[in-house]
Symmetry: C2
Subunit: 322 residues, 2 copies
């Protein structure tokens, strides 16, 4: 693995070259704006790592990598409308800065742009790339729909929840890596292992997100600790707590969800979660997916040295405190 900057520089350079015409400006200004908001570019980096892992140059997969990033941004623009989110990366969302119709339509164009970028890869890879990309795009939408459905459902199980985060966020990590592998012409089994690695790391990462929201160090955490509790959001912690709680404890959790004193709400909820062992139970599920990711990585038929960047990445993702 080269320095991270080598990857992000190559990606930003390619992102800057995406053809967004001047007219109609209401369609393309939002896309120029949104793509420039930045972000970690984690998904396209996975594509570059996924092809380098098998001895390919990162340049060979650069269009497909940017296609993944463009797809991710399309899904953010549309998700932000659905979630009525005013901000993304501390800047106004597209539907806030322009309007909802413009956000719908510019999102649509961005999805097509992802296909244009994907189609810039060699023709020989196109059928396999399209097949995986289409399947993943559909799953991401399914995950978003499940997430919306959960808001009003009262019977969400742990399995439902993990399946939701798998679809909504994790399959795209598996896809990003496997796209790199496809471009490196690797075997079906290597493709499956690298996909599984990405998918399980993605699930573990999301579970950690849920845990950090309540247990992060307020000094280091960029946003309010306990935001999910305050918003009464269904998270793995919350579902696990309800699963472990007896009737009386469930009643307390219900009462807490209606409390206006937010500090009290967060503190008492954390106290009860700890008492129930919700955090430990969630960490166990997270660890199980981390282990599955490592098993998949072990089964990859490449030199151990080549796997190090991915192990490093996985550990970096899992050891974060923010």
């Amino acid at each position: 693995m080269q320095d991270l900057a080598a990857y992000t520089n190559a990606l930003e350079n390619e992102i800057n070259q995406i053809d967004f015409p001047q007219h109609p400006s209401n369609l393309y200004d939002p896309l120029r704006y949104f793509m420039a908001l930045g972000g970690k570019r984690m998904r396209p980096i996975l594509t570059l790592l996924g092809t380098e892992l098998f001895g390919n140059s990162k340049e060979s997969a650069i269009h497909a990598a940017v296609a993944i990033e463009v797809f991710h941004n399309f899904s953010l623009i549309h998700d932000d409308i659905m979630d009525e989110a005013p901000l993304r990366r501390n800047k106004e969302t597209v539907h806030t800065k322009w309007n909802r119709n413009i956000a719908i339509l510019s999102g649509d164009v961005l999805l097509v742009k992802a296909y244009q970028l994907l189609a810039k890869q060699n023709n020989e890879h196109l059928p396999a790339l399209l097949h995986l990309f289409n399947q993943t795009a559909i799953e991401v939408c399914e995950g978003q729909q499940m997430d919306m459905d959960f808001e009003t459902r009262k019977d969400v199980s742990i399995e439902d929840y993990v399946e939701m985060i798998r679809l909504k966020t994790s399959v795209l990590l598996g896809c990003a890596l496997e796209i790199g592998a496809i471009i490196a012409n690797v075997s079906e089994s290597n493709r499956r292992h690298i996909y599984d690695f990405g998918q399980h790391i993605g699930i573990a990462f999301q579970i950690q997100d849920d845990i950090l929201d309540l247990y992060a160090d307020p000094e280091k955490f960029g946003k309010q600790v306990g935001g999910d509790v305050i918003a009464n959001k269904k998270t793995l912690l919350n579902l696990k707590a309800f699963e472990l709680a007896d009737t009386e404890q469930k009643e307390i959790l219900h009462q807490l969800s209606g409390t206006n004193d937010l500090n009290f709400k967060v503190e008492k909820t954390r106290e009860l979660y700890d008492q129930l062992g919700a955090r430990t139970a969630c960490e166990k599920i997270m660890q199980a997916h981390y282990d599955l990711a490592m098993t998949a990585l072990n089964e990859l038929e490449v030199d151990a040295a080549a796997k190090e960047p991915l192990i490093g990445l996985a550990d970096f993702l899992m050891m974060r405190e923010v």
Copy 2:
């Protein structure tokens, strides 16, 4: 050309086989519902005709034909949100029957489904099919954005308007035909001619739509005659009338646009348009595009007999009274 029923039967059969899973039902029920609303299936028929024209069987292009229809339905679902349209084909639109978020997300999935269908064609055609399809999809979005922009713009020219309808509706007809030609492995020049035929027939068809809205026989017309005038919609007739009007006549048109007596509004507007020669001027533009379509058809290097279905279709489209 076989009986029209042979085409629609083949298409409906293929449409019924599209894989819409049972879950999440809020994502896929709207798609089952919307795809079953029917419609003339004009665009996919063009794809089948476009491939038969060059001696191919219609079966060879059936997946791509349905991809075009699926794309068209995606754009209708999203346009209906943007236009806040309560009805489509006399049934509730998706955002009315379910909600806006579901309409955004199920539309997104439908766009991906179009790519899945396109990818079912032979791999050898995939790069050319994707290139044309992506370009067209982007143009359709650009046309929709221009249409939305026109609502508040005061300086829309005839050229702007024709460019808007070209992008919003006509390029998809050209694309539908050319996709059939690509699958028939024809020359670049034949591909261009068939595309141009579709595009210009599409423009002529849309202009006729604008004219019929005010001049159709109320006995035969399925909806209220003068609907565009009542809604103060910018149409070619309206733009042409303003172009031809003197200051005094412009003032009358402005006054009419604020009139509450709708019969009076429609009658007086029609009277003034006639006086200005707006209808004749629009028919001239329509005829010019019809002629361009016929020129393109003439230049196609296939037997005259093979062209007859397309001439028949063009005449059918242009002679309609509804």
